[in-house]
């Protein structure tokens, strides 16, 4: 059971920092979808905080700035917005796809992207997708009564399992992501049931083509290592290469050593490879060159069959 004496809901960054510099013992929450389930038996148990500060209504954490190159998403943006927003569906295709796999509609109304990243669970679904969008995050801190903002790549921000680059009372403010209109995108996930489930493995892929060649390929994986990560060998191998099943198949093997999880290691390895192949194929499928792809869809699947079955 989570207990606290005061619940504050500041509306601006300034208000937030003034509050937290005055009031001692503040605990930050946003959507509370990690915090409340954590404060229960078998996990955090009965927990008491003197003060809880809800950052989900801070103006700066709710920005949505849309540009042709970069898009700015406030850290309090919830996953349901990523799922429903028409512009996001077009220019950040991978985000609605992660959202479909993320919890359920009701949790998504609350769950923020900031909370998800700060929670830094190895099995969190948001991070692999944001990695493939080359995300830079902004952190705000308060020094000498001044708000200081620092922008850094997402990879730098998340330092380990449940570890992020935040000092006490620092806030994650926004996510700057790349507009990836024109990319094919795919998110694959497997757990113990179809939905509302913790990832055993998840993979996010973005693919851009130039004629019959891969112009850009971005693949990231979650669920298998302490921190979700980009699969750079796979990506680099494919960039500039022609789209054929051999290339994809060879590429799918290059990064399998990222797996750190001790449990279910063999299983994760196999699924990861299958997901790399499948997510690239599916991303291709969304780039309107369906016919060529359909042809080698079958070929590569025969290869997969051969390899795994």
């Amino acid at each position: 059971m989570l207990r606290y004496d005061n619940y504050f809901i500041p509306k601006t960054l300034k208000e937030y920092f003034e509050l937290t510099s005055k009031v001692k013992d503040c605990r930050i929450v946003a959507g509370c979808t990690d915090m409340l389930p954590w404060a229960r038996e078998g996990r955090g148990g009965d927990v008491f905080f003197k003060n809880v500060v809800d950052v989900s209504r801070i103006k700066e954490l709710n920005v949505f700035k849309f540009g042709s190159k970069k898009i700015l998403l406030g850290a309090a943006t919830n996953y349901q917005k990523l799922f429903l927003d028409k512009k996001i569906r077009k220019s950040l295709k991978v985000l609605p796809q992660v959202s479909v796999w993320f919890a359920d509609d009701q949790i998504r109304e609350l769950a923020t992207i900031g909370g998800n990243i700060v929670n830094a669970s190895p099995a969190g679904d948001g991070m692999p997708a944001f990695l493939t969008l080359n995300t830079k995050v902004t952190v705000a801190s308060f020094k000498n009564k001044k708000i200081i903002k620092l922008k850094m790549p997402l990879e730098k921000f998340v330092k380990g399992r449940n570890k992020v680059a935040l000092n006490k009372n620092d806030l994650l403010v926004d996510f700057e992501v790349e507009n990836t209109d024109g990319y094919g995108a795919c998110f694959e996930k497997v757990g113990h049931r179809r939905s509302l489930v913790i990832s055993t493995v998840c993979v996010s892929s973005l693919v851009k083509l130039n004629k019959n060649k891969f112009q850009d390929v971005r693949v990231a994986v979650g669920g298998v290592c302490e921190v979700p990560t980009r699969l750079t060998k796979t990506e680099n191998f494919l960039k500039g290469k022609s789209i054929d099943e051999n290339n994809i198949y060879v590429a799918s093997k290059l990064d399998l050593d990222v797996i750190q999880s001790r449990s279910r290691r063999e299983y994760r390895r196999e699924v990861l490879q299958n997901f790399i192949i499948r997510s690239i194929l599916k991303s291709l499928g969304k780039t309107n060159i369906n016919e060529t792809i359909q042809k080698f869809d079958n070929k590569i699947e025969l290869k997969m069959e051969d390899a795994h079955v």
Binding site: R193, V197, T200, Y267
Partner: protein, 338 residues
């Protein structure tokens, strides 16, 4: 991406015993035809979701000639209502249904005897249904509400009765197990159709065809509901649920870790009810609660074998088990029996 998805079908059969096992089973009930042509039933029953209140209302309505919506069923209170024992063992419809039927017959007889006098007809000609009472072959007919008024006010009779239904079972011989554990048995069978994703090992159950003998089906839709619910509990058992312990400590101590089927994991269920009425009991009904889920898991495992040639012998068939088994099968060359 269709080649990594494999489909298959499997079948399994089952049987089950109705009511308490290898021990006498009994249930009691009181019934009264009440003012306005309604009915009061008191027995040791509480709805646990199986639909027993509706079944009893139907039974009482049918026996007493009132409308089902005019049947009131009292609370289950060990100090206020007749004993009907526990809510389990697929015994509710069989034990309590028959007890209520018998009690209603007793109450009805009192009303019919009075009406026979009133109309000067043989009590055997009297029938009642859906709020009306009449004498067959005559013009006598009236609302139940009116006849109950006559019964009470003119004849001083309250049509009330209590009854008991007993199912005679015997214990098992401690050496060879012989005995008569139940007097009624039900039989069932199900076909499962699955899709296995060989890239992840996920199994999706897409269709179940379920055929069950339930004896006389008192409320067919309720029977279907039990089959559908039983099948889905079995989906959990077959494919995902596992209360894992490590040195006595659970690793699945919340719904985040203990995985239940959601609306996206469940098959379409097509049911067919077979009615082989129980020859020994008044209603001929048997039961469906527990039997519904017995054939599902083996039917699913048999379907998985049909789809990908691996036999999962330890439940649940998790994605990981499926991929491991596929790998093993590949390593051992062709399909093996063991």
């Amino acid at each position: 991406m269709s080649l990594t998805k494999k489909r298959g079908r499997g079948v399994a059969a089952s049987w089950y015993g109705i009511a308490r096992t290898a021990a006498m089973d009994q249930a009691g009930a009181w019934a009264e035809i009440d003012d306005g042509g309604s009915a009061k039933i008191s027995t040791g029953v509480t709805e646990i979701g199986e639909g027993i209140l509706t079944v009893l209302a139907q039974v009482a309505a049918d026996e007493l000639g009132v409308k089902p919506e005019n049947v009131m069923i009292g609370e289950n209170d060990t100090s206020r209502s007749p004993e009907a024992a526990h809510a389990g063992a697929t015994r509710q419809t069989y034990m309590i249904g028959n007890a209520v039927a018998l009690a209603c017959r007793g109450a009805r007889q009192k009303l019919f005897d009075v009406m026979a006098k009133e109309w000067k007809v043989d009590a055997n000609t009297i029938k009642a249904h859906n709020g009306e009472i009449w004498s067959e072959g005559t013009n006598y007919k009236m609302e139940m509400s009116e006849s109950i008024h006559i019964c009470k006010k003119k004849y001083g009779v309250i049509p009330v009765a209590g009854e008991n239904y007993t199912s005679h079972h015997t214990g098992l011989d401690p050496v060879d197990g012989s005995g008569r554990p139940w007097q009624a048995y039900v039989f069932g069978g199900q076909v499962a159709e699955v899709e296995v994703d060989t890239a992840t090992g996920e199994v999706q159950l897409l269709g179940i065809w379920a055929c069950h003998d339930v004896g006389k089906a008192i409320n067919p839709k309720g029977v279907e509901g039990q089959i559908e619910g039983g099948v889905v509990q079995a989906v959990g058992q077959a494919l995902m649920e596992n209360y894992e312990l490590e040195k006595g400590r659970t690793k699945s101590g919340s719904f985040a870790k203990y995985i239940l089927p959601t609306s996206l994991d469940v098959p379409k269920v097509t049911s067919k009810i077979v009615e082989d009425p129980d020859p020994l009991s008044p209603l001929g009904a048997k039961g469906i609660g527990e039997p519904a889920m017995v054939p599902t898991s083996p039917a699913i495992m048999n379907a998985i074998y049909d789809a990908i040639g691996v036999r999962i012998k330890s439940l649940p068939a998790t994605p990981e088990k499926i991929l491991n088994a596929l790998k093993e099968k590949k390593q051992n060359g062709s399909r093996k029996f063991n």
